[in-house]
Symmetry: C2
Subunit: 134 residues, 2 copies
DNA sequence: GGGCAAGTTTACGTAAAGGGAAGATTTATG
DNA sequence: CATAAATCTTCCCTTTACGTAAACTTGCCC
């Protein structure tokens, strides 16, 4: 009765589910982004829901340009400051603010580029128009 | 009198002005992003305003995640379709729309991540608050 | 016009993020 | 149980976007 129902996943299935390869998952573990994974008695990796969420979060961060090393230092700070609850907040807030700033920056740049492209697009469209009516 | 005042720049000065290295500029030429650069009689590269603008544009595209190979294919399409003006528009518009789509996508993802971070931030701040008033 | 900074080519080096194969072992399945 | 499929570790390979050194030539300044 104490089977502690946790729904473990093997690496291959997980990889398929996330649209990445097993190599990628092992690589994240290799560089310390994941901590040592629980293994079966035979040695195959088993992932629980928490670890799945962690990988998903990594992928999300990656998608917006934060590289793995940056994630590492971020994770480090979280972990060291999670020890005593008193000190966690200021430092973590600092980091979060920093990243919010970065994200805002990128959003602004992307918007600007979007405008550039749209303008260029309509300039070309105008040219075509003129050509047709001539 | 026919000095055709074009204000040429040497590579080092240009690099400094753009905040990149000369290697980067030569590299962009090397992989075909810049076309052969005009040289002095002695062989040193001279850049005119157009080329400066081109590099600036490249840097801008780079900043938002378009890699150099993607820029190459983009440039290719522009060049081949610039031959006959009739065919340029549809294809170019198609590409531009594609990239506008990509940019929108990224902006959306960044915004979502920004929300995630902000939420997390305020949850932590709340925790701190509670701790203080207890 | 002598000297030194700046430029040139060639070529090897590097960091990031995995890819891919080999050889052994484990797990799943008929 | 046998066999196939999936995992394991180890190791070398690959691409991208330059960095860096060497050996040499040009350009600019006094």
């Amino acid at each position: 009765m104490s089977k502690t129902q946790v729904s473990l996943t093997q690496i291959g299935k997980l990889a398929k589910q996330l649209g990445i390869t097993t190599r990628t998952i092992r690589y994240y573990e290799e560089i310390g982004l994941m901590g040592p994974t629980n293994r079966s008695s035979g040695g195959t990796r088993n992932y629980n829901q928490n670890e799945v969420l962690r990988i998903k979060f990594i992928l999300k961060l990656k998608e917006l340009g934060i590289n793995l090393k940056e994630m590492l230092t971020l994770a480090d700070t979280f972990d060291t400051h999670n020890q005593n609850f008193d000190t966690i907040t200021p430092r973590v807030l600092e980091i979060l603010d920093l990243h919010i700033g970065k994200v805002d920056d990128k959003i602004a740049k992307l918007s600007s580029l979007r405008d550039d492209i749209t303008n260029y697009r309509s300039r070309i469209a105008d040219l075509l128009q003129k050509q047709e009516t001539e």
